[in-house]
Point group: C2
Chain length 256, copies 2
DNA sequence: ACCTCTCGTCTCGCGTGGCGGAACCGTTGT
DNA sequence: ACAACGGTTCCGCCACGCGAGACGAGAGGT
């Protein structure tokens, strides 16, 4: 076998066809694909027909050429939830924690709340507890506001209508101030939270983008107010954005 | 062979594994997948290893279970551009044109402008010309505003800073009014344009969503002001939204 | 309208590559 | 320590996929 030991040849070829179809934008013909991969055109035709049966590729009725199928898109949607975001993000979060000496984390939206999927504690031994796997409301934490700022406005309205719990006197619970805050987050590219969930607890967060520019997660830095002072926030915001961008790149996304 | 005549067995099985991995959210084990598809576990293992080689699936280092890989996501991004949006949308646009007796169209964002990818003229023979393949600025047409409303705010700021051309006295060229208009579009789920590009030309538009809820295109209805009167707009907006939702469903998206 | 060039699919016999039984590890749980 | 379980690897047999070539359908040139 041309490739390493234990690959199934036909499957490997089929996968190569799939990838080649992805690279050639638009459609591609059997003959062209076969030539590009060094296959016999009858082989390519047979493999493509098999993929088509499962909807991974589709064929243009008029030209007979092939293109990627809809189910690829549906698969990708599943893949994103499944993807090992945690494993990819951890090294970057560790770097960020070392750099800032604070606790860093990564969160995603899960059933209308912020789910922390990874956390790295800073060297300062102020116990903060492990939030991995736990959920908090979106409106009162920095990462939550980053993710909320990427939702459709209709979603935000729905959440507000359902009621926002007030945790401290600084928690934003009214619609108008919240919309203004989210607009500010979008404009600046990062969010802050100054004692909005718990007095004395501050945070900064920045968005992680996928290949299409959609926000899929948020990187945050948080710590006690006496260390994470307002004057440090601009600097921390830059670092959070850099880390978020690095993670974006590693999952195949645009850093934008 | 169990399936129809001319499929490549191993490829078909590999494709089935891929789909099965998509259906089981999160990861899935070799044994479980093999049982679900009626395969021998050694076969499943071999096929999965082959898919992994191409990055279509990845394997968790700790548990040994498999999940969908990153390249699926990258493929899907290509697939969306490749996808036969036009072919899928056309029948729906035709229905809409028959229903409303107006001209209907479908547009996407292409290099920061609105690209019309499909158009169906209504039965009323007021010549409007074929816009297929042509581009217009985003800020002054209904579909453009729908698509703009889905952009990151930073993008909108960049466009405004670059300058918005004023075509009529109704064209929105200032930042603040534009942001308010886009917020209105998001809230209502549709956009209008009343003589903002050309006096006497009105339009309504609604967003088409993909599987992840991201806005990828806009359906519009447009016509001369004397027919497309303000009082007809609510009714047309509903129809535009229904058509957009129908297209969303047909490309595997959520109607939301 | 003709021929010709190209492209995708189908047929078919050959021989190799994939299948599945079973053995082999590494982990987990009791 | 043992058993149970899940993923990988080995190996021999035979079916299954491969590739040469034929076939039919368009497209385009003269």
């Amino acid at each position: 076998m041309a490739l390493d030991g234990n690959a199934v040849r036909s499957v490997d070829r089929a996968a190569a066809l799939l990838l080649a179809l992805g690279e050639s934008q638009g459609e591609a013909g059997v003959t062209e694909l076969a030539r590009r991969l060094g296959l016999h055109k009858s082989t390519a035709s047979r493999l493509l027909a098999t993929l088509q049966r499962r909807g991974l590729v589709e064929q243009d009725d008029e030209t007979g050429k092939y293109r990627l199928g809809i189910v690829v898109i549906r698969l990708a949607e599943r893949a994103e939830r499944t993807l090992d975001l945690r494993g990819i993000a951890l090294p970057e979060l560790e770097r960020l924690a070392r750099l800032t000496h604070e606790t860093t984390g990564l969160g995603v939206v899960e059933s209308e709340a912020l789910l922390t999927v990874a956390q790295v504690d800073g060297p300062n031994l102020i116990a903060v507890g492990d939030w991995t796997g736990r959920s908090t409301p979106l409106h009162c934490v920095a990462s939550g506001k980053v993710l909320m700022a990427a939702l459709a406005e209709r979603e935000v309205l729905r959440l507000v209508r359902r009621g926002l719990v007030s945790y401290t006197e600084r928690t934003i619970v009214q619609l108008e101030p919240l919309l203004e805050e989210l607009a500010r987050v979008r404009r600046r590219g990062y969010a802050t939270a100054i004692g909005e969930y718990e007095m004395g607890l501050n945070a900064v967060a920045a968005p992680v983008h996928d290949a299409r520019g959609t926000v899929i997660a948020a990187v945050d830095i948080w710590g006690p107010a006496f260390r994470l002072t307002p004057r440090r926030i601009p600097e921390l915001a830059v670092q959070a954005r850099e880390t978020a961008a690095a993670i974006s790149v590693r999952i195949g996304g645009a850093a934008a």
